[in-house]
């Protein structure tokens, strides 16, 4: 085994090839966000879920998600991925604290936690993030759908979330007082 890439030495970040090796050897730190809309009393009125086309061609739902990079604060990783997935006009209210709503532990199958990521062992700090602006998903997300809390927590929607993230959404929403 050897590192094959040539990362930018100033960035301190791994090349894609080297990261492909490392992610089989170390848990990788992620942040994930459940975007929500709230009214003036702080009541969650809508829950945002991303729709993606999976590599197998199926439509799946997922969360705003991405890695924390070397040298980056958790809050900055969260802001960066919210902008990447929801566009620059989403105006998310970044949580004051890095303490997450819940922690999600993903493993290649078989996974004791019930959460699966075939690529890696990922540990994700999960936040519920109010957004106040206009969301315009980019990249590989086809669409952001806003669901009422009961819709978002319906078994059929939760089952559409990839890698067992239905239970992550349920736990994150429960942390803000919303349950089925």
């Amino acid at each position: 085994m050897s590192f094959v890439g040539t990362p930018d030495p100033d960035s301190g970040w791994l090349s894609d090839d080297d990261f492909a090796i490392v992610r089989r050897q170390l848990p990788i730190l992620y942040v994930e966000a459940v975007p929500v809309r709230v009214d003036g009393r702080g009541v969650v009125t809508d829950v945002g879920l991303l729709l993606r086309v999976s590599s197998a061609g199926a439509m799946t739902r997922t969360l705003v998600s991405g890695r924390v990079m070397h040298g980056e604060l958790v809050r900055d990783a969260l802001l960066r991925h919210l902008e990447k997935d929801l566009g620059p006009m989403a105006f998310p209210q970044i949580p004051l604290s890095a303490t997450p709503a819940t922690v999600a532990e993903y493993f290649p199958p078989p996974s004791e936690s019930g959460l699966v990521d075939p690529r890696q062992h990922a540990v994700s700090l999960v936040y519920v993030v109010p957004v106040t602006g206009t969301c315009d998903p980019r990249q590989d997300a086809l669409e952001l759908s806003w669901l009422s809390p009961p819709e978002a927590l319906s078994p059929s929607v939760l089952a559409d979330l990839e890698g067992g993230r239905g239970q992550v959404v349920a736990r994150a929403l429960a942390a803000v007082g919303i349950s089925q």
Copy 2:
């Protein structure tokens, strides 16, 4: 002992005289808030503390605070007291969840908890609340002062908070990742 007041039967709330009796017999539920200003990354830049003249004529610092009324959701009590103490243009971001940053238990002295309220046994749900507008304290608050987090957590400022609330502020700010 008897109830002496004549509360409005439609309000379902106790008269002041009856409440004076009841508060010696039951724990009274409060909400308290530490107002903060945050930047676009969710970093707390300023902590708001109220200055009051105590009944003994001394200047003391305190929190936004008040009772939860019968029939009122915690979030609505929090919004009502924020508007009462900071004015209608403060535009607080009410927490999504009623789960507090910390719970403060006040007792008439002697108090095992170290938190003192000579009037009553009060149990307070404490929140850190970003405000985005203009604060204009009303009622008996003379002034709202904005302090940097290190200033707010300095021993001299914490000691100025009435009833031991210095430790409540310290715990509430610690819950959002800020400590001395």
Copy 3:
């Protein structure tokens, strides 16, 4: 309206008659507990739910629950009600912190929160409490049943919980990482 009872002046507690009046005028502070059994790694293996016969003669499930009395710390109220409902040999591990897993707000119907208590507006601090000993329910609880986490979170069991407490159980268990 007047206070009719003659409470023990030394106890500082209201008589039953006076409390019947006050609970229509003030929110009443409760603690509730979801007892659990855990293994040596902290994994929840069993969730305890109480079975009661309701006033209408129906079997319902409920939580360990009770009021916080005047002058009593939340942790002492929690310990008292765990002993009352589970017996003196349950050996509960009382949480280090009074900050609850979730807050439950019960109202007489109609209730915006979805949680119903026909008698009163109750605000309940809810905890998940490991018990290590032998549980021997007393009083009006007929039985404590231990369910696996998936059983406890099944729709039929959650629906059996009185007053909407199914969502309270779901939120409390989600706070310790367990969801459907």
Copy 4:
């Protein structure tokens, strides 16, 4: 840059040499624990801090701490490091939930968070863990000292904690209701 070590291919873990490279390129996930002793009411009576001799020969205090390995649940990493640092008879009560009391972000200097690790960018999930048995520190820890909560939170003790961990201890204890 290349990977130089020859890790055991069955372990899925990096060699020390390869890890020395990777830790300059990726945030490394840690768990940290503040061991405490509690009484039967859940009140923290003692706070455990480790004494180490630093590489410069100075005595410093620190927390139970260590990496999460590939394929390992956070709870298992926490248990492993508690046993490593406190011995096999400490009998820690592992938290039910992976959601930490606080998150600590360490960076090589300069560090915006105020927490410093010269070796790496480390993100640490921090827990307060009751221990019920006998602690017998091993490895490079010379001693475990048990301090009362006020002693543990005294400025001189907090200042002895390496890398700014004094504020981590303060935040973790605040999460269980203990402040200066």
